[in-house]
């Protein structure tokens, strides 16, 4: 290669010449960067504990609030991603670690978001004294806890289901652990991960109020953000402000969808092992821009080169190692048993410590009372899931069988799933007061507001996936009416329905904390249930009772999952599969 000043002369490559897309891309990218920088600087503003952060209801501050919320959710998503890969890799690589990590994840998943917040917030504030960053971190952590677990499960699942021959090919061509991770494991995890990220962000939005209005030792810190805005609007009973909040959230969610998830979803299709059907995937405009505009080309090339040099280094170190014995990693029998025993001991010790801790402030009878409260909430969850199923299954099937509508409906449903329940407090409160309704019953719909959409979503998907031949056959045999529902539609969508119902039920438990206490213009309507119990003691700041409430709630969720949903799921998977 020709050289000048010791450097090779490289002609400006044609592939880097700007295109029209660059005209659009450049300002967009620079704008995003600037917004990020501004938001970041706001995060670390000085702050002394006890200081009141004024939240304005002026609609003009809403865009700035929205931006700060979006940034929080973004960082939470980044943290969730890192956590997912690290945790899943550890659990998938070592059987010993798996025995500890996966059940732990199951428990973490059932802990309500408020539980994490009340326990960790003081620690975060102590971590960054004199700065808002501590509170910001606590909020981000709270959002993180509403996003990370299902993403981690999905990555773990993908790591465990790597196609055998691909693993062998990777070994045969002697990829290093690093190369294998990037070439095989991460790509394979991608499609499911992106899907779960979308779900997670919806969940994050749902709890945005809870995560931004943080209560520490009886004092509430409101971080500037759309969640706090909604909280204050509800407290003051300002309907107009609520309307603005809804509007801005709508815009933000649409932007998130357009700029992040549509492109990610389309891009992640490339990692699917098999293309399903012949459907030509839609190409979102933002992805087209990313792919056509040359500035990203250059960036991508740089990133790739960096990765490659890292990998070459690793390969060089590993070279020649092929024909050398490798040490055996298998543990002897007794060590395995010892490890099992250790896990059990740790679990029991944790439980004992928890009971002792709770006992310092709570008498035994209250334990029974809380279990009873849990049963009340359980009843509510069940009735609600049943009602939601009755309503949404027929509608979902109807939509799912009409592809043109189904496509649009899915986007709308996803959007609805992101709406925080708090936004509906005014409506519920107004109705309850105007018609003297029973709070025990009429607060319940709020619990399922956010989660019913999982049922709709999955039923639509299940109905859309029913093979065309099945419809022809049913038609041909003259199967219609109730018989058609019993023999064709319901069995056909059952596996998808169960998936949706599991998610909906889990989410409803979590939502009970927000939904069993309705506040509107200084009035409070409280329903009986474990959610109200936790919410109440979180306000008071009673650590023992919070711990008790959360533990009991977790036990309920895990119990129901194991005894009921898991079995239903197995039945669905075994008997009603389409293949």
């Amino acid at each position: 290669m020709e050289q000048r000043w010791g450097l090779p002369i490289v002609a400006w490559p044609a592939r880097l010449k700007p295109t029209l897309w660059d005209l659009l891309a450049l300002p967009l990218v620079l704008g995003l960067l600037a917004l990020f920088a501004w938001g970041g600087s706001q995060m670390s503003a000085p702050y002394a504990f006890g200081q009141e952060l004024p939240i304005s209801l002026d609609p003009r501050v809403l865009p700035a609030y929205a931006l700060r919320t979006v940034l929080r959710m973004f960082w939470a998503l980044v943290a969730s991603l890192l956590f997912s890969f690290a945790y899943a890799a550890l659990a998938a690589k070592s059987r010993q670690a798996e025995k500890l990590l996966i059940p732990a994840l199951d428990v973490l998943q059932s802990v309500p978001i408020l539980g994490f917040l009340s326990i960790t917030v003081t620690g975060f504030i102590a971590l960054f004294p004199g700065s808002l960053l501590g509170v910001e971190c606590a909020a981000i952590f709270a959002i993180f806890t509403s996003q990370a677990w299902n993403m981690t499960f999905s990555v773990f699942q993908s790591f465990r289901t790597l196609p055998g021959e691909l693993v062998e090919a990777a070994r045969m061509y002697r990829l290093t652990a690093w190369g294998r991770f990037w070439r095989l494991e991460v790509p394979h995890a991608m499609p499911n991960l992106v899907w779960n990220m979308m779900m997670s962000v919806s969940g994050g939005w749902f709890f945005v109020v809870a995560s931004e209005a943080i209560t520490v030792s009886g004092q509430t810190i409101m971080l500037p953000g759309i969640g706090s805005y909604i909280a204050v609007a509800i407290e003051k009973g300002n309907l107009r402000a609520i309307f603005y909040a809804v509007l801005v959230m709508f815009v933000v969610i649409v932007l998130y969808d357009q700029l992040l998830f549509r492109p990610l979803l389309a891009w992640s299709r490339k990692f699917k092992l098999e293309e399903l059907g012949e459907e030509e995937p839609a190409r979102p405009w933002f992805l087209v821009m990313l792919q056509r505009a040359r500035i990203f080309d250059a960036a991508e090339r740089g990133a790739r080169r960096l990765l490659e040099s890292l990998q070459r280094g690793a390969a060089r170190r590993a070279r020649g190692s092929a024909v050398r014995p490798r040490p055996h990693l298998a543990l002897p029998e007794w060590a395995e048993r010892l490890w099992d025993a250790t896990i059990v001991v740790i679990a029991l010790a944790g439980l004992a410590w928890l009971v002792l801790f709770v006992r310092t402030g709570v008498a035994w009878p209250e334990f029974g009372h809380v279990v009873l409260l849990g049963a009340v909430t359980a009843l509510r969850v069940f009735v609600l899931i049943a009602l939601a199923s009755l309503v949404w299954v027929p509608i979902g099937v109807w939509i799912g069988l009409r592809p043109a509508i189904a496509d649009r409906a899915q986007a709308i449903v996803q959007f609805l799933a992101a709406f925080p329940a708090n936004l509906f407090f005014p409506l519920a409160a107004l109705l309850i007061r105007a018609y003297h309704l029973n709070v025990e019953i009429w607060s319940s719909p709020l619990m399922i507001l956010g989660t019913q959409w999982y049922i709709v979503f999955n039923v639509i998907g299940g109905a859309a996936a029913l093979p065309g031949d099945l419809h022809y056959a049913a038609n041909n045999l003259g199967v219609r009416g109730w018989l058609w529902w019993r023999r064709v539609a319901l069995p056909g969508i059952f596996p998808a329905y169960v998936t949706g119902a599991v998610t909906a039920a889990g989410g409803s438990w979590n939502a009970s904390i927000v939904a069993e206490v309705i506040k509107w213009r200084g009035e409070t309507y409280t329903a009986t249930g474990i959610g109200a119990y936790i919410a109440h003691w979180t306000d008071v700041g009673d650590q023992q009772r919070i711990a008790l409430g959360i533990t009991v709630l977790c036990l309920y969720v895990i119990l129901f999952n194991r005894l009921f949903w898991r079995r239903l799921y197995d039945v669905a998977a075994e008997r009603l599969r389409m293949d």
């Binding site: 196609p163 070994r171 045969m172 070439r183 190692s321 490798r326």
Partner: protein
Amino acid sequence: MAEPVLMAAEAVSKSFKTPDRAGRLVLDNIDFRLKESEIVAILGKSGSGKSTFLRVLAGLIEPSSGRVLYRGNEVHGPAQGVAMVFQSFALFPWLTVLGNVELGLEALGTPAAERRERALAAIDLIGLDGFESAYPKELSGGMRQRVGFARALVVDPDILLLDEPFSALDVLTAETLRGDLMDLWIGRRIPTKGILFVSHNIEEAVEIADRIAIFGSDPGCIRSEIAVSLPRPRDGGSAGFRQIVDQVYALLTTSPGRDGGRRGAKAEPGIGIAYRLPAAPVQQLSGLIDALVEAPYHGRADLPHLADTVGLETDDMLPLIEALQILGFAHVGGGDIELTAAGRAYSEADIQHRKVIFGEHLVRNVPLAAHIRRILDDRPGHRAPKARFQRELEDHLDEEEADELLETIINWGRHAELFAYDYDSEVLSLENP
């Protein structure tokens, strides 16, 4: 032969752990050599452990005892200089053709420019030019396997290990690809010194190999070897070719029970209760009997010829032949198959009567069927859970094998109306639904 040895297996055994930790032997004391400028084919019925053996040689699976040598060095993991082509292609769907081919070089730490150049050359060599930027999804099966070959050849392998590389392709495509590979080999356009390939297609093996190793099962071992010294290119219709195909067929279809069936077998020639019955669909069995009765065979046929007529590949054919032998509907010897009197009676019967004959022979010749029937007869309610038999079989087989065996016997038993089976409750019974 004075050719140096490329790769050798010395007393290689492999056993996999079973739940009861007894260990299950899948490869038994195998000695094998691959010499320079030699193509060796490994043939055997499915489940005989031939793919496991290939993976042991590749360094993907560590043998339980014995050792594998590659040019005199002990192998403990995939070695540089040994490349493998997989049955299902094993392409990375998120990498383009070029990316997939470059992958092998990436791990070697080859600089980017050289990598690109060599990958393009390999793509060119295997006839994929023009598809460099395509994703595997966009390609047909044949083209995908070409990528698999290009990825293997780009590292300039000393030894090429092929795991049924053509079996996922249709006949025509497989033949073209095979021909192209042989052209490269004969023309010495690739630096590869030896090829070892696993196959289930007898004609394919005879066409390509210098030597064929016949694999016996339970546990896997090399039962015999045949040298193929026909001049290349080989004519599939020539007398010499047909003769070797016949010979291989004869070796592959020696009567069951004698086939090393040590595990679960009583004494030859009968079979034991846990004998791994061939998973032969009843429909195909009766179809084969019908074909055998009709012209031009009139009850007796040359196996390769028959396979050709009914359009079945070797590994679909072998289970059928074994099943007919076990049930006593046919005799096999010297590469020929002949219907027994029972087989002829079956062919002349109507549907209902066929079931009766099938049932009689099932009870008489298959100990597992007789056993199940006896248990059901003895039990007061004439019902027994499938798990009961599953547990019994797992004394001899691993879980998956026991599952497969039960599935086969349930299919046969249901057809013969020997017993009924309820999928939902997983219960075997005598009631007729």
